[in-house]
Amino acid sequence: MTTPALSAREVKKVYRPRNRPEVPALKGVSLEVGRGERVGLLGRNGAGKTTFLKIASTLLRPTSGEITIFGHDVMAHPEEVRPLIAVVPQEGKPFFHLTPREQVYTYLRTRGFSRESARTRTEEAIEQMGLGEVADRLNVTLSGGQMQRAMVATIIATEAPLLFLDEPTIGMDPFARRGVWDSLRRLTRKGSTILLTTHYLDEAEVLSDHIYIVDRGKVLAAGTAEELKRKTGGTLRVSIRGANHMREGFRSFGDLIVEDDTFHIITEPPRVPEIMQTALDQKLSVTVGPVTLEEAFLRLVGRSINDES
């Protein structure tokens, strides 16, 4: 059997700040990332995503638990793990006094690539990230989105076996985000594995083969985007506007979500004609669309918050 790219068992982390109460950031996270997979880690702010990524990438010691990267124990042998990984840190910025081209090239040289290979990879990464026009300008003169692209270019150029990307497209315009998506897909086709966190759920949906939703330091749900959507009670969303007072009549068709003057019924396709007929009988306007990952996320995390309170 092939060793997974990453395997985590019951990882716990408690921060113990001086003169302040303990903060349990991870309460036993277990997950597995197969080789060549793109896996998304979703969660609210403070859910524990970055803490997990830092532990997995050898930057932080866990309180307990076990993580292996390609079979190497992250805690016991970080020096075996580090050549196999590359990280885009959350809110990381490139050296202000290097150009994007220098940033990528010198990073590759630091990682042990030959001059020739570093030069070729640098040019490829600069082109993939659409940084050609600014490649020789100091990073300090670039926009926030361009700097973020320089950071991603630095990492994708390594083609490391396992890449950790903590909110890699933050601050990027839609075109640049799609450029990153294409590059990440290309990397996994070549054999790399990717674990990313993002608050853009459309990004998680199009990029991730598998998604873990983390909340309050625990894995709340896991599966493909479609599986997670199904966990909300259906794959379709029927929206009826301006008739909130009549929503009780639709409760039997599926889960109801109320949003301003609209209520949504989360249901399965066979029930849609019935709902449509009921709505038309009452002269209500109806729209039908697929359940989005964002709705699934809100439902799942919201349910967990309600359960705890």
């Binding site: 790219a5 982390k13 080789r35 060549g36 830092k54 990438s57 050898t58 930057l59 932080l60 010691r61 390609f70 970080p78 020096e79 580090r82 050549p83 196999l84 990984i85 590359a86 990280v87 885009v88 840190p89 959350q90 809110e91 990381g92 910025k93 490139p94 050296f95 202000f96 006094h97 290097l98 220098e102 010198t106 990073y107 040289r109 630091t110 990682r111 042990g112 690539f113 290979s117 100091l138 950071m151 630095t154 990492i155 083609e159 490391a160 076996p161 396992l162 950790f164 070549k190 054999g191 790399s192 594995t193």
Partner: protein
């Protein structure tokens, strides 16, 4: 395909990635033209004052002191640079989660910053040659002592940089510490001008120890046997000790929460 095969083969040692990271840091430093100019101008301004106000016999002290102080302030810049790229840029994460050895990250940074200080130091060496030409032995002693000062102050700066979580909180400490070690003791002036009972303390501070040692080997102000042993012994123990601590600290701090 086995993705592990894609990682470049790197021989792992505490110096893995050192040339690459030195190249990175020196490029960063050399792109900062204002820092380069200011490092040069500050020394010139100081020397102008010494030339105007002090008797000619003090010039050699001032020039040697300026060279020692220049190398010593590499540590202050290492401290600020390490803190800045860790707290503001989070670049330590990029490099620590890579084959670059933590020791190489620290030494590469210290060497890269040193590049910025080489032009003013070379200028001062030329001035020293005019004021008091060096023969081979004093030149070698000076070179070795400066290497020790560079390692001592860089290690100190790097260790201090890891103790803070707020960039602004570091500034007052760095200024105080480096002036306390580098300006107050007899670095720019003769050891004899320092209060007698405190002279052994001055000889235990690396910058003033190097200044006193240089005056001895250059024949300007010979040291008695006891103070000479104190200066050389202290310098050796402190430079080696603090450098080893810095290297160990670099490895330890590459992973938080340890």
């Amino acid at each position: 395909m086995n993705p592990e095969m894609e990682a470049p083969r790197v021989r792992r040692s505490p110096w893995t990635g050192l040339p690459g990271f030195f190249g990175t840091e020196s490029r960063v430093q050399l792109h900062e033209t204002p820092s380069l100019v200011s490092a040069l101008v500050i020394q010139v301004i100081f020397l102008v004052f010494v030339w105007l106000l002090a008797p000619p016999s003090y010039r050699v002290y001032a020039v040697v002191g300026a060279i020692v102080f220049s190398i010593f302030t590499v540590g202050e810049r290492v401290q600020n640079e390490a803190a800045y790229i860790r707290l503001d840029h989070k670049l330590n994460e990029l490099y620590h989660a890579s084959p670059l050895a933590p020791e190489s990250y620290f030494v590469g940074m210290a060497a890269g910053v040193l590049v910025l200080y080489l032009p003013p130091v070379l200028m001062l060496v030329v001035i020293l040659e005019l004021v008091h030409p060096l023969t081979a032995l004093p030149a070698l002693v000076f070179l070795a002592s400066l290497a020790g000062i560079w390692l001592f102050s860089s290690s100190m700066g790097y260790i201090i940089s890891t103790l803070f979580r707020d960039l602004r909180a570091i500034w007052p400490y760095s200024s105080l510490l480096f002036n306390l070690f580098g300006v107050l003791p007899p670095v720019f002036y003769p050891l004899a001008a320092f209060p007698g009972p405190l002279q052994p303390v001055a000889l235990l501070m690396p910058p003033s120890a190097v200044a006193a040692l240089m005056m001895d080997v250059m024949g300007v102000a010979p040291l008695a046997h006891g103070p000479l042993i104190l200066a050389v012994g202290g310098l050796l123990v402190e430079c080696v000790g603090v450098t080893l601590l810095g290297l160990r600290w670099a490895r330890r701090s590459a992973r938080e929460g340890g």
